[in-house]
């Protein structure tokens, strides 16, 4: 069975600084997607970034980028120039590629932005 582990329950970063959130996963599949979702106090899960496992190039979306290490099964999220609006719970997630399927989530990291 696939699992997703986020070892940092909470993190803090100074506004405008850079922070990296860690995620590791376990799977026997070779083709899958990895995601980072953001959940602000409004509760709505918002997709931040998506990585396809067959692509070696790390995904980027504006201030958000990932470091995808397939052999190590590691998928960290880097947030550059942190803003107050980045404060939220961040969830790392996994889904098999070859079928519509449920997403498997980690337990999340709460990110605090210090002004």
């Amino acid at each position: 069975a696939q699992t997703v582990t986020q070892s940092q329950p909470e993190m803090s970063v100074q506004e405008a600084e850079t922070v990296t959130l860690s995620c590791t996963y376990d799977t026997s599949e070779s083709d899958y997607y990895l995601f980072w979702y953001k959940q602000p106090p409004s509760r709505q899960m918002i997709l931040v970034i998506r990585q396809e496992a067959y692509k070696q190039q790390n995904a980027t979306e504006n201030r958000f980028s990932v470091n995808f290490q397939k052999a190590a099964k590691s998928f960290s999220l880097k947030i550059s120039d942190s803003q107050l609006g980045d404060a939220a719970m961040y969830f790392c997630a996994y889904r098999n590629r070859n079928r519509d399927d449920k997403i498997i989530f980690g337990k999340g990291t709460r990110l605090h932005i210090l002004p």
Partner: protein, 117 residues
Amino acid sequence: GAGVSQSPSNKVTEKGKDVELRCDPISGHTALYWYRQSLGQGLEFLIYFQGNSAPDKSGLPSDRFSAERTGGSVSTLTIQRTQQEDSAVYLCASSLAGGASGGNIQYFGAGTRLSVL
């Protein structure tokens, strides 16, 4: 609609009562998912509907939980004889069908916060 809509936003009920939670997916999305988020936890998969196929119920925690999806659109999650441990946020998501070709992103609603007293 523009996004996934869930109702009610909050629900308080007494132990032993039945509750129904509603999810209205994005128009045209054939896949619909229910997840449960307990306090301080990640999301736990409950059930998945894809078109007219039999739903994947593998995540339902007990036979008190059931869900249906009428006309391939709106879905209702029903919890019978609620218990205090059922207190959680219940999130619904929808996505386009397509399997491997689309990398179908799941779009989430804002959830229903259920409190069982």
